[in-house]
């Protein structure tokens, strides 16, 4: 009798874990009253692929994500590459910063994690040029600016590379550039007013900037934002991209705030729940 009771309890436990009381018909937002799942740097930081790798991003999209958030940096010879960390030594056998290296140097990097050793750092051009059905997806580009030079000429060069790369693949409607620094946001807005800009800042500053720049959306941390703040953003015509969904419970917590997009590390779970 005892084993039967134990088995029953275990089965009930697993079923209760999978159950949620989400009512998605109540969702109200600026994304057609639906929440779109985005991969966080592909499949997220705890994935079996290195984050921001071609394989990780492709996997997230093939699992059903409608887009991905990607971390982007500019090399010394003006190539946009997908890499999150400030220094290369945090993840690879190379040392130094991305903006100090040429693309030829960076593409030789080997990830230190032995399970990632076969994968390579990819450029934005390679990603957009080789992903299957690329125009079916959205790409939220989070530009990481670790270089000390933020002169007008550097900003112009940077934005020029960004626009050229996007337009080479005719993905103006699919790519959403996001910067923390106002100078870069203003520059890209001045040269490409039709681009969908996404502000990466605190709620208060982000709302002000989004209003000034007529931005498409704002990136906010799930831990630091309330449902009423998201409603406020919607009332002002600003879409909300929520990051910080690292676990299944984070996914469920984020959904209850009715953002427009959730950037998650648990892509498969979020896609399933939102279906």
């Amino acid at each position: 009798m005892k084993p039967l009771l134990s088995i029953t309890l275990i089965i009930l436990f697993f079923f209760s874990c999978g159950k949620n009381d989400l009512d998605l018909s109540q969702v109200r937002n600026l994304n057609g009253d639906k929440i779109s799942p985005f991969g966080h740097a592909g499949m997220g930081i705890s994935s079996q692929y290195p984050f921001n790798s071609f394989e990780s991003i492709s996997n997230a999209l093939n699992l059903g994500a409608e887009g991905v958030e990607i971390d982007v940096q500019l090399t010394k010879d003006s190539v946009l590459v997908l890499f999150h960390d400030r220094t290369l030594e945090e993840q690879t056998n190379l040392e130094g910063l991305i903006h100090e290296k040429s693309w030829d140097e960076i593409k030789q990097a080997i990830y230190k994690n032995p399970l990632f050793a076969e994968y390579r750092i990819v450029s934005l051009d390679q990603l957009l040029g080789n992903l299957k059905n690329v125009k079916d997806y959205q790409f939220l580009l989070d530009f990481k600016l670790y270089q000390p030079d933020n002169s007008d000429s550097y900003v112009s060069t940077y934005i020029n590379v960004v626009t050229k790369t996007i337009e080479k693949h005719q993905l103006e409607n699919n790519v959403l550039p996001s910067f923390f620094q106002q100078k870069y946001l203003e520059k890209i807005k001045s040269v490409r007013p039709n681009y969908k800009l996404v502000i990466n800042n605190s709620f208060e500053n982000g709302m002000l900037l989004a209003d000034d720049l007529n931005a498409y959306g704002i990136i906010l941390n799930n831990d630091n934002v309330t449902k009423s703040q998201i409603e406020q953003a919607h009332e002002e015509g600003i879409r909300v991209y929520l990051f910080g969904a690292y676990s299944r419970s984070d996914n469920l917590d984020a959904i209850e705030k009715y953002p427009d997009f959730i950037l998650t590390d648990k892509v498969k779970h979020l896609v399933k729940v939102l279906k």
């Binding site: 492709s58 056998n93 230190k112 994690n113 990819v122 080789n130």
Partner: protein, 176 residues
């Protein structure tokens, strides 16, 4: 790096040249099925270990295993990444305790994007591992547990700290 090398050297000397328990009668396992969590098989592997030489207080074994940590590739097609860890291990026995020294080689078969990211390819490669471990197994008992430090020399180019825990089940004991 120098510090780690010194520790490894000290461990090696203790294990190989220790004579404190010589000439005792020992019982060594002949066959062992080992489940590795971590270790030279990456995230984990299922292995067969064979003791093929034993004398006094030590025995030497080889171990071969199998692992896959992804069934579907990044395009969600069934196309598993495969790992085949093999190793040669020296076990020095002190009553129920064993110090383990070894060397391993892992053959990996990984599905990844091609160099120009235009297609999907399967790449096979080798990586070398060192093994320094401690195993606990009572005489005449089949179960064993081992913790190991298994640094990986990836493609013989990069060094990475790694480790694992192993659960073994031995059968067909061999009396020495």
């Amino acid at each position: 790096m120098l510090k780690i090398r010194n520790i490894l050297l000290l461990f090696f000397l203790i294990v190989v040249f220790s004579v404190s328990l010589k000439s005792q009668t020992n019982i060594f396992p002949k066959h062992t099925i080992v489940l590795d969590i971590g270790g030279i098989g990456g995230y984990g592997s299922l292995n067969y270990e064979r003791n093929f030489f034993s004398k006094n207080d030590f025995f030497i074994s080889y171990k071969a295993g199998f692992s896959f940590y992804r069934l579907k590739d990044f395009e969600r097609e069934i196309n598993p990444d495969l790992l085949f860890p093999i190793s040669l291990q020296y076990h020095r026995k002190f009553k129920n305790h064993q110090a383990v020294l070894g060397v391993g080689q892992t053959i990996s078969s990984i599905v990844k994007a091609s160099a120009d990211f235009a297609s999907k390819i399967r790449r096979n490669r080798l990586s070398l591992s060192g093994i320094i471990g401690y195993r606990y197994q009572k005489d005449n008992r089949p179960f064993s547990i081992q913790i190991s430090y298994t640094p990986i020399f990836e493609r013989y180019k990069t060094f990475q700290h790694w480790g694992g825990i192993s659960f073994g089940y031995s059968f067909s004991k061999k009396n020495k």
